[in-house]
């Protein structure tokens, strides 16, 4: 749940660390059970106290709670991300332009592999990661429960709505949002047949001609969850009859759509649409009135980070308009920014201009993961 207490937020505005009781953290940790006790998570409790009196400095055009001199002394940091190689390289490069004395490094893997990898490393007492980014909230929440984050409340949190920050604040934040509508191939689909609402996806015309993402996609999970909530269980059962094809990335979806291999893309991420429209693909994007399923990418400082100051500086940079602009404009990312004062995305629209559908009850959302995986894999013939 993302109901953040008022007093906590006030604390944020005063650039004061909110009073997070140690018991909260403990309770969270206890939830995961006995096994987790073996995991080292002591840092999670020590973190907030240390962050409490952080002086805020202004660097370039943003404020940071990091000690820049120390960060530069640390000289490097390691970023784990689910994003692709060129995307990760782009982020690190952009940060490196602003802070040439800090050498960013990154390792990338698919969300699930990344999660397994960092947990395995931590259980072997190897702490080499400074900042981590997951592609969907359930992973981040699980990681939080296992004491994976160190709490750092950035001075940038004031620019974010509470629902875009972790609870409690300071573990992770929404570094970007990817959202999906419907896209279709304008050569293959007659204007009269063009889908306008989510319900139009069930048109038998799309039999063997519609594509979606695999169950490992966070956005796909959100779409399944939200549309099921809107239209009931039957919606996806009906959809399954169209024998949809599942792919791993939005690029594949749009590649196939652009080339006419598929007629309709049922999970058309706006980012992918922009990329392919630029190339002159015969495709159109539809934003159904009921809203666009949106999935957030979550980013935070890792517990026992070997370069804590550089990590904080990096997170502050990411949260600032500099980082957010990069996330919006890098063609490998094209993620929308949830910052209150975010600039428009390429194509001129802002994230606010779309009606987004995002799960609010995170417990119910996380709990339905298994149902989704089973239904979705079954539907895709896996």
């Amino acid at each position: 749940m993302y109901a953040v207490k008022e007093d906590a937020l006030q604390g944020v505005e005063n650039v004061q660390e909110p009073k997070v009781s140690k018991t909260t953290t403990r309770r969270d940790a206890l939830k995961v059970g006995l096994a987790i006790a073996a995991l080292p998570f002591t840092g999670a409790t020590g973190g907030p106290a240390a962050a409490q009196d952080r002086p805020v400095t202004k660097v370039l055009d943003f404020t940071t709670g990091a000690d820049i001199a120390k960060a530069e002394q640390e000289g490097e940091f390691l970023f784990y991300t689910h994003d692709g190689e060129p995307a990760a390289a782009g982020i690190i490069e952009a940060f490196g332009k602003d802070f040439p004395k800090i050498k960013g490094k990154y390792v990338r893997a698919q969300n699930g592999s990344l999660f397994s990898k960092i947990l395995a490393e931590r259980s072997a007492n190897r702490f080499n990661v400074d900042v981590i980014q997951f592609s969907e909230p359930a992973t981040a929440i699980d990681f939080q429960k296992r004491g994976g984050y160190t709490r750092y409340v950035s001075p940038q949190v004031s620019a974010y709505a509470p629902e875009h920050l972790s609870n409690p604040v300071g573990d992770y934040f929404w570094v970007g949002v990817t959202f999906a509508g419907i896209a279709y191939n304008t050569d293959k689909v007659k204007p009269a047949d063009a889908p306008k609402s989510w319900k139009d996806l069930l048109n038998p015309l799309w039999l063997n001609g519609v594509n979606v993402k695999q169950s490992n996609s966070g956005t796909q999970f959100v779409q399944w969850y939200e549309l099921r909530k809107l239209y009931g269980d039957g919606f996806w059962k009906e959809f399954a009859k169209l024998r949809p094809r599942g792919f791993d990335s939005r690029v594949q979806l749009f590649d196939r759509l652009a080339k006419g291999d598929d007629k309709v893309c049922a999970l058309a991420e706006y980012a992918g649409y922009l990329l392919h429209k630029e190339k002159g693909a015969p495709i159109a994007f539809v934003a159904p009135e009921d809203g666009l399923p949106a999935s957030q990418l979550l980013n935070g400082v890792v517990d026992k980070a070997p370069h804590p100051e550089a990590a904080r500086l990096f997170v502050d940079w990411l949260m600032s308009n500099r980082g957010q602009t990069h996330y919006q404009n890098n063609p490998y990312l094209y993620y929308g920014s949830v910052r209150k004062d975010a600039p428009p995305m390429p194509g001129g629209k802002r994230l606010k201009d779309f009606k987004l559908l995002s799960p609010t009850d995170m417990d119910a959302y996380s709990a339905s993961r298994d149902t989704f995986n089973k239904e979705w894999n079954g539907m895709l013939g896996l």
């Binding site: 390691l78 995307a87 893997a109 592999s113 359930a138 094809r245 990335s249 896996l382």
Partner: protein, 570 residues
Amino acid sequence: MDTSAQHPPSATGQMISLQSAIMAAVIVVVAAFVLYPIYYLLQASLDVGVADVRPPTAYGFDNFAALPGYSTIMWNTLVVTFVATIMALIFGFLTAWILTRTNVPFQRTLEQLMAVPYYVTPLLGALAWSFLGAPESGFINQLWRRFGGEGALIDITSPMGIAWVMALFEGSVAFVMIGAVMKSMDPSLEEASQVIGASRWRTMLRVTLPLVAPGVLGAAIFVFAEMLGSFSAALVLGTPARFYVITTAIYQLVSQYPPRMPLAAAMGVSLFAVMFLMLYFYRRITSRRSYVTISGKAFRPRVMDVGWLRWVLFAVCVTYLLLSVFLPIATLVFASVQKLAVAFPAPENFTLDNFRQALSLNAVRSAMGNSIILGLLTATIGVILTGLLSWMIQRSRLPGRGVLEYIVMFPQAVPRLVFAFGMMWAWLVFPIPIYGTFWVLLIAYLTVFLPLGVRTISSVIMQLDRSLDECGQVCGASWGYRLTSITMPLLRPGLLAAWLLIFVASVRELGASILLMGPNSKVMTPAIVEAWFSSSSELTAAMALIQTIVIGLAMLIFLSITRRAARLEG
């Protein structure tokens, strides 16, 4: 006669212990490389405790019990793998026979080109063939429809299409393995058959084929296992047709949240059974007969004069190369200079942006260097390691050397995507901090390519007359001296083939690298796959082409160095 010359230098006693020391070291290294990760893999497959907590909190067989739910996928995998193996062996044997045993024109050039399909990575091949043969957008099908055809002429996304693409590129491994064996076969064995009136075709089937049987079988086992674990073709071509094999299923299992590693591990471990059954039959077949064809009776390498048929055989080779090299590469070149690859592009669709972008990626440039260095190291160390291993398996009187052969095949039996997890867990807790460094990749590559090296070199060792080595022994030469003066020079073609195969396999390695790459040890192929996932097929085509060119150059340099070295010696 003077007494001083009677006995060889007394250092031989020490040499014997050197031999045992080296053999012991090889065993320890192999056991550590293979069994250590396997232990963790088995542990994971039995893990039924809290997800992603290590060590597991509870053990059980639930993961294995869940496997029957995936029987369709298992069946799909076996069918595609089997069909592809047969096709690859036919390609490999036919081309190997043509290029080593007949007077086909331009033999040397063709032979050099034959290795190319192997370093046209499977991803590149799959990508190219999906450009060519996708039912809707495939260039071939577009052409077909333009000339009045209906529907799709070919469907590369069908199971047969996937098998075809896998076989096309794996065929060149079969070629290299079988070719190395054929090259060292005494031609008089074939001539004997011809003299008594057997046709050339009959000679090939009745004499050549049985004689190179261990080589062919070795190649078959290897190719089968390689395809069992192959990922790219099934990923690129299978998913659009809702057709999954074990590797693509595993990929989904480990990349989703919550990651289902234990189930993936169980799937991988269950593949051991398939592999071991094959290996068992291989050993039964090869142990029953002697396959010595390199004997002390030296022979002149001669080829068969096949008359006008040579042009037909030439056409066969050229067709294979056309389908596996020229057509895919031309397709990729064509695709990589377009914004959106189509068969009949408008002029404004052409662009060089993809190459500009590929070359500007910092990650790609440093990764390329790492890949090449890793390839060189893996191939060089790998040839030494697998050479010694093959020798121990085939020639030593070491007790339990049969077990060694099974152990060596482990890494081949499990898809690398899964084995990588075993290696990650293993090297993560290893007291010497190599995890996340360049060295862990080197170890991983050496581990996963053990079977490749052993299969290639073993086939050639099997053909070596024992008395060649024994004679050196009776002459008083120590083990090490014999190894360098007799065994290694005689195995040269096999060792060279193994080196090249391992080099290329390392550079194109994907499954293990993704998980084990550290921030300072990036390699190339994962970056290309990434590009395919996150940017576009066109950029991927450009990157894959650049990779192919770099590998090609590296191999050219290596070949010219070895050729010069050989000339200096000879």
